[in-house]
């Protein structure tokens, strides 16, 4: 293992404890927004993959990541990247569980095929599993929610409204 490998591992460990600013139940690593970490000497270059292009939390995340790296004695260069484009499939199993525990339905997996194949399926089959009772007897009230990345559902069994982290 090279020195850079050791530094990068410490960076990943640190970021695994940095909560997402909008949904603090999940870390930025479990959310899948850290694209890559590359260390060289006391500098580290971190690629941040925004969940949504217009996410207003991007600046806050860059700043918080920079501060955490500063605490490790590293000078961070946090760059926004769309390579690869963030997709809800990047949320880790631990992250999906953390979302569920805090009342968010995790996004369903993306259908195979081109992005626009999504359209019909979204319209016909907007499935989310109720994070409170586990029922799949749910209806989508609004594909748009309180933040860009959240949709609003209603559970027909336990009668709770809940949010789903949007599939994108």
């Amino acid at each position: 293992m090279t020195i850079a490998d050791g530094v990068e591992r410490r960076v990943w460990e640190e970021l695994a404890n940095l909560p997402d600013p909008e949904i603090p139940a999940i870390s930025v690593v479990d959310l899948g927004v850290i694209g890559s970490v590359a260390a060289s000497g006391d500098r580290v270059r971190i690629e941040l993959l925004p969940t949504f292009v217009g996410c207003p939390a991007i600046g806050v995340m860059q700043q918080q990541i920079g501060e955490r790296m500063g605490a490790l004695g590293l000078q961070a260069d946090v760059v926004v990247s769309y390579d690869p484009p963030w997709s809800s499939d990047r949320i880790s199993p631990a992250g999906r569980e953390a979302l569920r525990r805090s009342g968010f339905a995790p996004p369903a997996p993306m259908p195979a095929g081109p992005a626009l194949g999504m359209l019909d399926e979204l319209a016909v089959l907007p499935i989310a599993e109720c994070p409170y009772c586990g029922s799949r007897n749910t209806t989508m009230d609004n594909p748009f929610g309180p933040t860009l990345c959240r949709a609003i559902y209603h559970c027909e069994d336990c009668r709770q409204p809940f949010e789903q982290f949007k599939r994108v």
């Binding site: 207003p56 319209a123 860009l148």
Partner: protein, 258 residues
């Protein structure tokens, strides 16, 4: 942006700059028009939806202005807020005022379908940073398209006043909607270099073939219409008013650090 833009010859760079400006201005202007519904949409869920869509569009504009700024060495905010109305290059479709809900639904449908055709092409652009951003935007625009199609159907199926207003709005906006595909000044350079994989003329034909079967049952026969050469230079009084609004904070503190 992560990837340093590939080295471009000056002609290609200028042509790309024009393409990015048209894309950014389209998203910026429709985002601001739609943001006017915040607080006054016809129902609560639509208040949330139009606000969220507007935020998406302005976010897309930000990413595109930043890509443009990197290319030209300018400042993204200065491009977004620092120009006179006549220097904006959005399509004339976006020069109309917000209008009533039916006009908003008609415009959203026309614009989102056109944008979907355009983004599908740009996602295969030979200019990698643009291809990556277009691919990401497409995932988000899918939700906008779904929203626009659902509302078009809802108003059209209502009969009576809502359907009439929708039909009027589609007929009124149809000629200007073509201008989303107005030819770019140096388009042949972009096509030759693979930056724009399909010429605007072909994208326009694809869009018309896609929307006509949906719109004619709603609005009646729509004339054969082509994008105009000056389709992105026809600024209206409605836009001049919007420009005054959207630049008001930036102008009130010129040079301020936020």
């Amino acid at each position: 942006m992560t990837t340093a833009p590939p080295e471009l010859d000056p002609t290609t760079r200028d042509a790309l700059a024009e393409l990015l400006l048209t894309l950014a201005d389209d998203e910026f202007v429709i985002g601001f028009w739609d943001s006017e519904w915040t607080g006054i949409a016809p129902m609560l869920e639509e208040d949330v939806a139009t606000s969220s869509i507007a935020q998406d569009e302005i976010g897309h504009a930000r990413a595109l202005y930043e890509m443009l700024a990197e290319l030209t060495g300018e400042d993204a905010d200065a491009i977004a807020y620092g120009r006179e109305p006549e220097a904006y290059r959005h399509a004339s479709l976006l020069d109309h005022e917000r209008g009533d809900w039916a006009a908003t639904v008609a415009r959203r449908y026309l614009y989102e379908t056109a944008d979907a055709v355009r983004l599908a092409a740009l996602a295969t652009s030979g200019h990698e940073p643009l291809a990556l951003l277009a691919a990401k935007m497409r995932r988000e625009e899918t939700y906008h398209l779904l929203h626009a199609e659902a509302w078009l159907r809802r108003l059209a199926d209502s009969r009576g006043d809502a359907a009439d207003r929708l039909a009027d709005a589609v007929r009124r906006l149809w000629p200007d909607a073509q201008d989303v595909f107005a030819p770019l000044l140096n388009e042949e350079t972009l096509v030759a270099r693979g930056v724009l994989p399909t010429p605007m003329r072909a994208l326009h034909a694809e869009w018309v073939a896609r929307v006509r079967p949906t719109l004619e049952p709603v609005a009646g026969d729509l004339p054969q219409s082509a994008p105009r050469l000056d389709g992105r230079e026809r600024r209206s009084d409605a836009f001049r008013w919007l420009h005054g609004e959207l630049t008001s904070v930036a102008r009130s503190g010129a040079g301020a650090t936020w």
